[in-house]
Amino acid sequence: MGRRILVTGLATYWGGRLAQALEADPDVDVIIGLDTRRPTVALERTEYVRSDENYSILSRIVRATGIDTIAHTFLVVDSTQMSSRTMHEINVIGTMNLLAAASAAGSTVRTVAVKSSAHVYGSSPKDPYWFRETDRRVNSARTKVERSLLEVEGYVRDFARDNPHVSLALLRCSNVIGPDLATPITKALTLPVVPKVAGFDPRLQLIHEDDVVAAIMFALEHRLAGIYNVAADGMIPWSEVCAIAGRHGLPLPPVATALTTEILRRLGIIDLPPELLQVLTYGRGLDNRRLKEAGFSYRYTTAGAVEAFMEAVRLRSTIGDRDTGYRYEDDVEQFFRHSPSVNRGVRP
């Protein structure tokens, strides 16, 4: 029997990408995507269920569909996307409800993958250059997204401890870069001059978006259990990232940097959240050996990911946005999925 997978955050970039990847997998029978908004990518057989942001509907879905695998890709790791209140609802309350439903009596869930972020490690001068999965952060978390993710990981740890029969993989992803994803880093790199903190040239480790999707797929497929860092090989200075992007740096003062970024934000130039500012000052590296030892191989190095991103930027500057013009239409999607007239198994 094939797997029955629930993807949270179907309308987010990661949910959509993951659902597309799962659709191509013949071993997956059922894909159910949950989100507050409609999917933004074309999906062939994924069933979309609209939910509220903290998933109160979830236990009913798990019970009704006999889900055996959950891919939790809904965690917000970019605090510029929404208010901290919404982020708290989605991250902390959402995860709490999700895991409560997954651990309810009679639950069929046996595999869970949670996409978290390296923000849980923070960034400070006292850090080891390479964080291992067992390391705790050096300074206490001050930014909202870090605190929110730490709370989430607390629930995840409790769930894993209470449900030893479930393989739970907690993936801590490094800062992601790639052709299709918009993050503060990609936005910064497309500005005419790239902000940097004067006097600092931190070494960063990035990861290509495809490698993140591949890592989640890998975790689900191999039913990994435990914490895994997901970060490309190579740690390169921010100046070199800018050089690959062909951009010059705009030095921000090393003191009162937060004030300067606030001005940049107010002017609508760029929103550099405090957790990213720390990384742009002190850098951060993740020890990625554990996932590699499990058998995963990364396609892109850090420099390669930046290069791939810049190639996409150059293409876009020539041909414009690669907008597929896809819009989710309930009736059309329902027709394709459920009408007896549709030849299922044949791609349209």
Binding site: R132, A198, Y300
Partner: protein, 296 residues
């Protein structure tokens, strides 16, 4: 000779019924792509290009100002990891650059210098320090450098207590931390190579310290040095004390299994104290033979 006709090609398919096959799109082979690096900054922040420029600038200083003289350089291995351990002195320590420069020019292999995280948190200084081979003294960093990359690593077990001591306490070694350097060497399975340095103490002697200023700056200490008496510019210039460096016999731990999570605390403290004694005695010996601070 006639080519034998392959049978498979001639055999007609048993069934002619066409089954629509819905194959998933062939996933791109996950073979790793090339790494398009443009710079030479390694994962520790060290850049061989910048390091060679620093060596070129520092070399006249090393040769003609400090007139550094080594004894027993051949005890430092030319390959494999080793932990160099030395005494530490001078308000702005002049021993670290001298040791790193000497070993790199003589042996032609990089030396990574472990130091307080204070450097990394300081703008400009922190970046230059990292490019020149400075690494934050974290056990994980040292382990990775020594065990996995088999590099030479320089550490001053006295930490900032060494350079922070005033002139009247010169050449009297402070506590060697909590013996963390011995534990790392055991875990990494590399020898410890003690080095005794004479000269650094006199190159920038501390007259007294201002703890309140240090607190305000977040620095480990804030010294008032003799060099400051010669004007604000001279405050950053070392006196031309004669440098003598003696490499002592390597200490290895063949009976200890590497890569263990814990080691005997008493063994660590004993070894640490023995190495401290060894360096201290070498210093006394070198000072007995020294006729002049400036001419050796």
């Amino acid at each position: 000779m006639a080519q034998p006709e392959p049978e498979a090609r001639t055999a007609a398919p048993a069934t002619t019924e066409i089954v629509p096959v819905n194959l998933p799109p062939v996933a791109a082979a996950p073979e790793p792509l090339a790494d398009p690096r443009t710079g030479d900054v390694d994962e520790w922040g060290r850049s061989e290009n910048i390091r060679s420029i620093v060596r070129r600038i520092y070399d006249p200083m090393y040769r003609h100002w400090f007139r550094a003289e080594w004894e027993g350089m051949d005890k430092i291995p030319t390959e494999g990891g080793a932990l160099l351990v030395a005494n530490h002195a001078g308000a702005i320590p002049s021993d670290a650059p001298a040791i790193m420069h000497g070993v790199e020019t003589e042996l032609g292999r990089p030396v990574y210098g472990l130091a307080d995280h204070f450097f990394k948190g300081t703008p400009v200084v922190g970046t230059l320090w990292a490019r020149a081979g400075g690494v934050v003294a974290h056990p994980d960093n040292a382990y990775r450098l020594l065990r996995h990359q088999q590099q030479l690593v320089l550490v001053f077990p006295e930490g900032s207590k060494g350079p922070a001591k005033t002139y009247n306490e010169r050449y009297r070694l402070r506590r060697f931390g909590r013996g963390g350097f011995v534990e790392i060497a055991m875990r990494a399975g590399v020898p410890i190579i003690p080095i005794a340095v004479v000269g650094a103490e006199e190159s920038m002697p501390i007259l007294f310290k201002l703890p309140s200023v240090a607190r305000a700056l977040g620095a480990p200490y804030f010294p008032i040095t003799a060099n400051m008496a010669l004007g604000p510019l001279a405050a950053a210039v070392h006196f031309p004390a004669k440098f003598k460096l003696r490499v002592l016999d390597p200490v290895s731990f063949p009976d200890v299994e590497p890569a263990q999570p814990r080691y005997s605390r008493s063994r660590i403290m004993d070894e640490s104290e023995a190495i401290r004694q060894q360096i201290q005695e070498a210093l006394f010996d070198m000072l007995r033979q020294r006729r002049s601070v400036w001419f050796g």
